[in-house]
Amino acid sequence: MATNVASGAHNFKVVLLGEGCVGKTSLLLRYIEDKFNDKHLTTLQATFLNKRLNINGKRINLSIWDTAGQEKFHALGPIYYRNSNGAILVYDITDEDSFGKVKNWVKELKKMLGSDIVLTIAGNKIDLEHERTVPLEEAESYANMVGAKHFYTSAKLNQGVEDLFLDLTKEMLNKSEQTSQMDVSRTSQVLVVDDELTPVQTSCCSGSKSN
């Protein structure tokens, strides 16, 4: 699945999800090509880029899938996040609605993939800090609650991007090593549905509505 035993390399699939215009493609381009936005094209069809990493002598190959952000396209989500080892949920710190959308994605991914997927939340556009509308504490405590790491990034100024991907990769590596140990004794896979999460989240979402 995630590990290619023959070559000794780990292959991880990561999917970038988030509302339109939050900067998913910019983050990806910054990370892969260290570029910001020149020639950058709309992401209508999910595209992916590869990145090779070496962490503690382990060779890792990331294929990072970028998706269309416009709300209409979210219905196609399952096609994109299926078989993902990690997801980066991006929001724009100046757009509280885009943060609400992150919550929806978290909910959906938890339901559909259980704890098999490593979640990371990225608050992008910190270069626009003065326009921030998503409170810092709210974002971080939410991430904490759902067991996701939270990062602040600016694709434009190249802040936090490297850390974001590096940390996610390490988490995926941990998870895959744990899983492969478990695999030995395991005979079946059971979907983990995080029931406790639901009521907490509902209150959370209704909270954001009244903002």
């Binding site: 699945m1 509302e19 339109g20 215009c21 910001f36 936005n37 020149d38 020639k39 950058h40 094209l41 709309t42 992401t43 209508l44 069809q45 999910a46 595209t47 992916f48 590869n50 294929s63 269309a68 952000g69 416009q70 709300e71 209409k72 396209f73 979210h74 219905a75 196609l76 989500g77 399952p78 096609i79 299926r82 078989n83 609605d97 609400g100 959308k101 929806n104 909910k107 959906e108 339901k111 559909m112 993939l113 259980g114 098999d116 509308t133 434009k156 005979t187 079946s188 896979q189 059971v190 979907l191 983990v192 549905v193 029931d195 639901t198 509902t202 979402c205 509505k209 903002n211």
Partner: protein
């Protein structure tokens, strides 16, 4: 922020964006972020269509070719002068397939779409829509962001707030008011972007309107909520693959590669940025002449031409990269050759009656009158996103999830009589998984999850028609035999199935069976760890090393079935190898109401396998007695 403040903010944002386009590049000196404005020095060469390349031009335009085009121009000019004559009609097809001379493309395209007619029937409409957009459009932010990245490697669109960028913005904003059901949908910037390379603002607006609402193109259904036309065309595309390129289809399936992942832009924007632009224009020429079926045929044509190369790629990422990126950069075949092949593909599909997915159903056509202003509600104005998926979207998601499992609502395999053991069991597996996920989805949508049984409790089929169909097909393939028919899942390779290893109990109330056979039929799924059960060994062609499940279908034969009282399934646990309680099969129970009379007297089994690739094991009492390719025609095989 309270509602008023949010409304004010959204409206201020809209005005700000509009203002910048109105002022244009010249008046925004010093106000354009450097990142929005790539330097021209980065590029070197511009091709004849206006695209700027940082390397040597991909295709040499030989002098001979230019001469041919000059010759053709003369003929075309003449033909344009006598457009509505029978002589033109006669020549049009052949000439368009040869390619419209680039200098005359604008005129011919306008003729083919009848742009002038629509435009003159609606004087002032475009300006009116644009004015409304300035006051009301809720799509301005997304449009602005897409204009900032559409065709940025083209000289017209390279500079931020350039004339063509402003036109693109205006066309899309005006259209978002004109067609209130669609508004703006990503992808439309690609269509309008191409049109604007050849047309002025107003013509491009009307051409876009024709592409969406004229029945010949009917792209409206692609861009509305839930993308009904996309799923319909993809389903048809899958059908074509299954029929004409089963090996390739199998190859895609092996890597879990759904057609959406490589073909979205084929359907959405008619191959823009998926094939080289010169070829794309040739396809557009033909598309504008012949309409929807061109897209279907070209999709088939691309895969046909590149089948060999794709079959060599053993990784989903590699395949996607090849189809999406490589073919855009370099298609590998001359445009003329591709078009020649396209025509042949169209003929081939036509002969198989697969050239056209059919008239668009009313749901894919505009319901509201076009060009009538509908005031957006508060939520839309603020730009608030929906908390949950709408019913339409839920259905689209369901379709997408079912697609992933290779099941479609109208799948003939499931409803027709030519059922196949391989595909049935595959589909059943897939269906189970899909249903599990759908179940999950419903749960997550309703937020009322209280228990996750994972097994029988949640297993109710949404789509009762196709569920019935699948049962019926199973009944068809069965089966009066002493044979214990074991088949293996052809397996989706690397699906880490959360919902695996559950036994679904699809109960049957006996009305679904057509009475063609009497049997107790049970299906068992076992995780891969039980590969070593004595009943069977996986047969290599259909089981990938990563395949994680096996299916067994037990057909119990009851020779005393003449009396309905005997129609109880034999408990499969009597068989050796089924001591393990955990893997106890679940009876599917196909009991015909009147079945006893139809019981054939011999021990023969009827199997039909359409696949040329998969060996079908025929198993008797746990031993594989034969593995063979079975003919397309349904035949009777004597197991003795």
């Amino acid at each position: 922020m309270n509602e008023e403040a949010l409304l004010a903010r959204a409206s201020e944002e809209r005005e700000r964006i509009f203002q910048r386009y109105e002022r244009g590049r010249e008046n925004l000196v010093g106000q354009i972020d450097p990142w929005e404005d790539p330097e021209f020095e980065e590029y070197h060469k511009t091709d004849r269509y206006g695209f700027i390349h940082d390397e040597r031009l991909p295709q040499k335009t030989g002098s001979q070719k230019v001469n041919i085009e000059v010759e053709r121009e003369k003929k075309w000019v003449k033909m344009l002068g006598n457009w509505d004559t029978s002589a033109t009609k006669e020549k049009l097809h052949r000439r368009i397939y040869k390619g419209i001379p680039n200098s005359l493309r604008i005129k011919v395209w306008c003729k083919l779409m009848d742009v002038n007619k629509v435009k003159s029937a609606n004087p002032g409409k475009f300006q009116e829509m644009l004015k409304l957009a300035k006051l009301w459009s809720t799509d301005v932010r997304q449009i602005d962001s897409d204009v900032n990245r559409q065709f940025r490697e083209h000289q017209f669109y390279r500079e931020r707030y350039s004339e063509k960028q402003c036109s693109l913005f205006n066309v899309l904003c005006a259209y978002s008011m004109y067609n209130s059901e669609v508004g703006y949908c990503q992808g439309m910037s690609g269509l309008a972007g191409v049109l604007l390379m050849y047309m002025d603002e107003e013509d491009a607006f009307w051409a876009l309107a024709v592409l969406l609402s004229d029945k010949k193109y009917a792209m409206h259904g692609l861009y509305i909520e839930g993308f009904p036309k996309l799923t319909r065309f993809l389903e048809h595309h899958d059908k074509i693959l299954t029929k004409f390129m089963p090996k390739l289809k199998h190859h895609f399936d092996k890597f879990g590669l759904d057609a959406i992942l490589y073909s979205l832009k084929w359907f959405f924007v008619c191959f823009v940025e998926r094939v080289p632009f010169s070829l794309c224009l040739r396809v557009w020429d033909i598309y504008l002449l012949d309409g929807e079926r061109v897209v279907t045929a070209m999709a088939y044509n691309i895969l046909k031409l590149h089948k060999k190369a794709i079959m060599k790629l053993n990784d989903m990422d590699l395949i996607v990269n090849y189809i999406q990126v490589k073919l855009h950069k370099d298609f590998g075949f001359e445009d003329d050759f591709v078009i020649y092949q396209l025509e042949r593909s169209m003929d081939e599909l036509k002969r198989a009656k697969l050239d056209y997915p059919g008239q668009p159903p009313p749901t894919e056509l505009p319901k509201r009158q076009l060009g009538i202003f509908v005031e957006p509600d508060k939520k839309q104005k603020i730009g608030q996103r929906a908390e949950n998926f709408s019913e339409t979207e839920k259905q689209a998601r369901a379709t997408v999830i079912l697609r992933e499992r290779g099941i479609s609502y109208n799948d003939t395999v499931l409803t027709g009589t030519g059922a196949t053991v391989n595909s049935i069991q595959g589909n059943l597996l897939k269906r189970e998984k899909a249903e599990m996920e759908l179940h999950e989805l419903r749960v997550s949508q309703s937020d009322t999850v209280s228990e996750h049984s994972g097994v029988a409790a949640g297993m109710r089929c949404d789509d009762s028609v196709s569920a019935l169909g699948s049962r019926r097909s199973l009944a068809d393939t069965s089966v009066t035999s002493t044979a214990d028919l074991s088949v293996f899942s052809s397996g989706r390779s690397h699906a880490p199935d959360n919902s695996l290893d559950t036994h679904s109990n699809v109960s049957d109330d006996a009305t679904g069976s057509d009475g063609s056979g009497i049997c107790g039929l049970s299906i068992q799924r076992a995780p891969s760890t039980t590969h070593s059960t004595p009943r069977a060994t996986p047969h290599p062609p259909s089981v990938s090393p990563l395949s994680d499940d096996i299916v067994r279908i037990h057909v119990t034969y009851n020779p005393l079935a003449a009396s309905p009282s005997h129609l109880t399934p034999i408990n499969p646990s009597k068989y050796k190898g089924y001591n393990d309680e955990h893997h106890k099969p679940v009876s599917l129970g196909f009991y015909p109401s009147n079945g006893a009379m139809n019981l054939p007297s011999d021990n023969r089994i009827r199997i039909q396998v359409p696949s040329e690739e998969l060996l079908t094991p025929v198993v008797d009492s746990g031993r594989i007695i034969t593995q063979r390719f079975i003919d397309h025609r349904s035949e009777m095989y004597d197991l003795k």
